[in-house]
Subunit: 400 residues, 2 copies
């Protein structure tokens, strides 16, 4: 057995992940539950929205031509023939020289092509003095101005925001076709791990990765299932992996992925399925395993929490994107690097940085520490073609 | 009755919101449920983490001094006296000239101060050849390197991320004190509104704001309660507002907040409580009402969805921040404005923009349209001291 892993470039790993990602089916959910979900089919407007010409102010519906030249000194004088209420629809037509009161959002009477704002008008008995001319279309939303019947409003793959929910409501989607949320099994392995409630003895540490992965899966719109801490025993780990692969769409195993004596994760995946990649030219994150059991992707993450999290961002995001037919959108902020970062050509590095104003300050910490995860603002990627990044360079920070 | 509202500056409105924000109590939740919640009390490390000196690689625990001068040509030769397993704690001390195998993460034997990587060592029977010298502390995490006993790890008011969850697990917080989630009542008013399932007739439109507010409240970590569409009838609206104010921590009413004939929202709040502000020097968002009924803030939002959403970002975010004792963190991205934006001095404007690369392209649409909510990437604020922003200026985009 070689002590060294055969390292695969990140680009190749991403390609493999996309190939082995099982596409998740669509399901239909009530509109409120569509928040944060991925749209599974195009959404088109079924009718013109709005379905009629509306006033966007409180005022008087008019023929714009009747107000030509109106001003403070010489107002236009129009006969008021009615008051339109909100939600009313059956309005008699307006004739030249007439006006009707319309509140914001109400329908215009047939014929009217503009609205004079109440602030610049004065009602005097049966007449209204309009003190400011309006142009045709002024203060009016026309039928279909928002969306035309048949128009594609949303493309599939879209992450649905609160604003999208509002618009979906406006165009009549009380239920929405979305991609089913991936169910993600989480396994932590290691004889040194004790549960969060327990005080670790000498040689022991508490399980960090279960909660790190749990939070990550929730944030990515998945449904996490915790399989707990499994000791470094072949049978116990086999049993946990088998159960997780059977009931989940994706399995994340942290620990047990390097080439040390006790690292049996790759062997177990190989036995039940296929190891596509073991070892990636990625730092941190080198010992990552990409495998499948049946159609279920099984990812072996490094045991170090910070390394694990980099692999989630750099690789598992791509896998979940492919499974949910949606693009990976990292939040990016540009900043200026405050110190040199050295890397190795042929390896993709992710360095944790803290943003201080427009500066990105690299946090170099010993491998295996978790404090950089909470003191950092995000990651700076050093592409595999570079041997490092220089102080003063503008870099893109992938925000946590 | 004046047709014009007395406009209060945004800064003053924010101050009033902070004053009338009821502080929410703390509650204790299991660790996984703390994701996305606001920490209610400081979190300190109860013991040193890690609790012992650990290897960060697979290799051999050594006295660093024993490897001085070691290299490919002349390796250091050390007697191997044991193999440490993961999680083992009771390890006999190491003597000079000796080494023990340690896997990544395992405890070092007493005496050892460095680890020689397995990649640069060779086991030959009862001896190990170390082909690369190590310095004291090399490949070792010392006790307390991550967190020291008694150290404050998290401050109250922190929004808890997946990484925070992992670290909380690592330092033994199986339950976490967090601020109770605000329960937010949502009321849409207007005779023109029909529910999402219904095809609107002439003069009618579907309710957008209920879903917009619902999504917003969820995204801000609150629990939304939908009170539905209420017609512009005094008794019906009074009854809905009373019920919502009684059962919720905050009430959002959209529509019925301007000075038109049918806008009775302010009158109802005044009758049951206090209207602190009606009319804000904010565009869009001018007719906003800030009131309280008992200790419950009641916010009257404009009926136009896009205006409503600006008020949520510019004002309600501040209110929820104050209620949950946490700072408002808008996601910001710098960009270059592609066209002039005109404003009015003394008024704060929020313009929807679409990001195209590093350009911020303003989306000017008729008031009352919802499509800009989904075609835009965020908002650019024109401060009240400015009469506009110029093409080519660097602006901060508040990302949706």
């Amino acid at each position: 057995m070689s002590l060294f892993l055969d390292l695969v470039p990140v680009k190749e790993a991403v390609r493999v992940l996309q190939t082995c990602a099982p596409g998740l089916p669509a399901e239909t959910v009530p509109l409120p539950e569509a928040l944060g979900r991925i749209l599974a089919a195009p959404v088109t407007a079924r009718e013109d929205t709005p379905g009629f010409s509306r006033s966007v102010v409180d005022g008087y519906a008019v023929y714009a031509a009747d107000t030509t030249g109106a001003g403070e000194a010489i107002p236009a004088m129009l006969a008021i023939t009615g008051r339109i209420g909100m939600g009313e629809g059956d309005i008699p037509p307006l004739s030249r020289g007439e006006c009707m009161y319309v509140p914001t959002g109400a329908i215009l009477p047939p014929g009217a092509d503009a609205v004079a704002m109440i602030e610049y008008s004065e009602e005097m008995g049966r007449e209204v003095l309009v003190r400011r001319a309006v142009a045709p279309g002024e203060n009016v939303t026309l039928r279909g101005d928002d969306f035309h019947a048949g128009e594609e409003v949303f493309e599939p793959g879209r992450y649905l925001s609160p604003r999208d929910l509002g618009v979906l409501g406006g165009i009549g989607y009380g239920t929405v076709p979305v991609i089913r949320q991936p169910k993600v099994g989480i396994i932590s392995t290691g004889n040194e791990l004790v549960p969060v409630e327990q005080v670790p003895g000498p040689g022991e540490i508490r399980d960090v990765n279960t909660y790190l992965c749990y939070g990550y899966v929730c944030e990515r719109g998945g449904t996490p299932e915790i399989f707990g801490i499994v000791p470094d025993e072949r049978e116990a780990l086999e049993e946990a992996v088998r159960r997780a692969a059977r009931s989940c769409d994706l399995v994340l195993i942290s620990g047990g992925s390097s080439k040390g004596e006790r690292d049996m994760c790759a062997a177990i995946i190989e036995e039940m399925g296929t190891v596509h990649i073991h070892g990636i030219a990625l730092a941190p994150g080198k010992p990552t395993i990409i495998g499948t059991i049946g159609t279920t992707p099984v990812i072996g993450l490094p045991g170090h929490p910070a390394s694990s999290y980099v692999v989630l961002i750099a690789l598992v995001d791509e896998l979940i994107g492919a499974m949910t037919s949606s693009a990976v959108h990292h939040r990016i902020r540009k900043a200026t690097l405050t110190t040199n970062i050295s890397s190795a050509r042929g390896r993709e590095d992710y360095v944790r940085v803290r943003l201080e104003g427009d500066d990105a300050v690299p946090l170099f910490g010993k491998s295996g520490l978790t404090n950089t995860l909470i003191y950092s603002t995000g990651l700076v990627r050093v592409p595999e073609s570079r041997e490092g990044l220089e102080r003063g360079e503008e870099v893109e920070v992938i925000l946590w």
